[in-house]
Symmetry: C2
Subunit: 415 residues, 2 copies
Amino acid sequence: MGLQDKAYTLRNCKAVLVDSETVKLNVNVVIERGVIRAVGKESEGDEIDCSGLVVLPGLVNAHTHSAMIALRGYSDDKELRQWLSDVWAFERTFPRQLMKLSTEVAVLEMLERGTTAFVDMYFNPEDVREMTEKYGIRAQAGFTFLDSMFDPSEVERLQRGLRGTELFTPIINVHSVYSVSRETLKLAFELSRELNQRLQIHASETRGEVFYTKKNFGLFPVEFLIKEGLPEGSQLVHLGWIASWELDLLKNHHATYCPTSSMKLATAGAFPLYEAIRRGVNVSLGTDGPASNNSLDMFREMKNAVLQQRHNYWDARVTAKDAFRSATTGGYRLLGLKGGKVAQGYVADLVLLDADELYPFSPERLVSHVVYYTTGEAVKKLIVSGKIIEKETIRREKSRLVNEINESLSSLSYK
Amino acid sequence: MGLQDKAYTLRNCKAVLVDSETVKLNVNVVIERGVIRAVGKESEGDEIDCSGLVVLPGLVNAHTHSAMIALRGYSDDKELRQWLSDVWAFERTFPRQLMKLSTEVAVLEMLERGTTAFVDMYFNPEDVREMTEKYGIRAQAGFTFLDSMFDPSEVERLQRGLRGTELFTPIINVHSVYSVSRETLKLAFELSRELNQRLQIHASETRGEVFYTKKNFGLFPVEFLIKEGLPEGSQLVHLGWIASWELDLLKNHHATYCPTSSMKLATAGAFPLYEAIRRGVNVSLGTDGPASNNSLDMFREMKNAVLQQRHNYWDARVTAKDAFRSATTGGYRLLGLKGGKVAQGYVADLVLLDADELYPFSPERLVSHVVYYTTGEAVKKLIVSGKIIEKETIRREKSRLVNEINESLSSLSYK
């Protein structure tokens, strides 16, 4: 795309949602070499008319398992433990080509709905890297330590060979404390430190997990991870059953909240979002995988975060702005990038929505419409690292691949 | 639309979701005079190629306040009591023309997203009737007893003048036990019996309401309504705080569940869906108004029903099929119509979805995709009482009206 390197201008944007607090009307956004140079009256280079569009920061899907598109709708109406058993049975014979195809469709689906970056936990990070090159999305992914499925030394070997690029960053994935041995956990921690790659792990997702670590190690899951030497800056996902005093252990780590999946799997836990934010924990939002959500739409996820919080805690303290910040600034902080705002010096990762779909239109109602009303349906274009991606292009490509995925699945015995 | 009266055929539908249990592949659906004549190999009259479409029964939005589109995003981050106080302040000066315009946009938005019929509680039922004629959606609506806003005898007078049509049925709306006097309640009950119009009332929505009836009448809200002589076949909405023993009082009534709104308003109650179904209560689903949801998309509502149930009750007993039946057969039973299935003799109220958007495609996964994955975004056409409505037509019309609503609101002081 020729526009990528030289400066260009999103001209006369109907509104720019700079961050959760600020809306600018009828301004230009100047982008150069993947970074926002100005938001205001300035214009430089080619101009793109944005008078019918609302500009937001890109949304970060901070936790998913993209290849599980093939498993969407395969096992739904079960609690986590039984669901995981169904899923693992499928995964033991997951055809390699279908896994790649699923990741590709997931990437297109995320782009189509406004996700500019995602963090993936699965077994095919090279496919994820390939998709970042092919489609221009940002991603972090790595091989996953999961003892019942993979030899830990093999995971280590593969991970050592995984290289990063501008858009792709390797991370160390550990499924959970209950699915790896203490030795595997130590190995992953050491690898994370040695390679300077962030560690991501599911933690405190269920009561069963809390029971497991209490019984075996005398500690709560987060407490246990910290005591075992969790590398600084690790990403703990779910935390629906974290003890309130454990929140203070997260100061130097990142928390990722996946409200929809926790509700659908009846884990009954609700990450204490309000408390976590108040105590300064960096919180991001994730859809979790398409087999447990089953959507990858971060707009829906923002709404569901507020819904679960309000229902669980019997008050309206968590607001649309909290959800929005978690999906934007919280996500980019997790990624280690200056992003999540439409402001000078921030990475040019943006979502452009059809302004006609955000009604009644008023600057005061914009965050509300983004969180509570609209979905990825309203996305018209995305920009990732300054590169423009048109929704229609994504849709066409996805349509072709969906046919392939359908054919591929119909030849398997899984219904 | 010329096709309406003579028979026509939806030819070679990729899949027909007959009901929650049955999927038929590659069949025709023959429609004549608003009724489904056959689902199978038969063909009659003009043929419409449906090889890329999945056919479902129409979705019934069993409870909304359509005119509140103007209030979408106006007051979000508050609990019910404060929210209601904000909303009532707006409504006291709600311009009549804006109210009508809001209802019109809401009707288009519902059609666009697969709602073939809705039940409305507001102050402008004649506007609703006009929209049923203009756009072909089914609706039930009536003037609303709400003592702080309207003189009950005036509501009675207006209601007596409200006439039904093929698509529009008048109902008696009562806001709640806490917002009308006991005399108004009696008046509404008598009017419902005399005019043979179903009564709709919000009930057991909050702890505050339970406290109110207990304190003033010594009874729980549903118990109180029954003791006061609630007409048979009434519609009780919300019921988040219904006592389990009160469920048995609903045998001859209808329950409507609005999960999203109850979560967003932090009412903390969760209608006991599993128990209600098991005890034979007819359950329908509603989005509630666009100021408290803020979406009118029944696909999202089905998913949120499952999510709230599973989170609240710590198990996965409520399934996608329960949500689907509530939105289809439960809704049509409320309306008093033989509808909610794609089968011979049922009303031809159908939703046609883009099959490419339901992936991976398999008959076994169809209900899951409809409930957990897709949204109204996948709707391509609707059929109401045999009349075909194209999504693109709706969108064009809506786009024009949204501009009007934006202009109208910008001239008011409400932000």
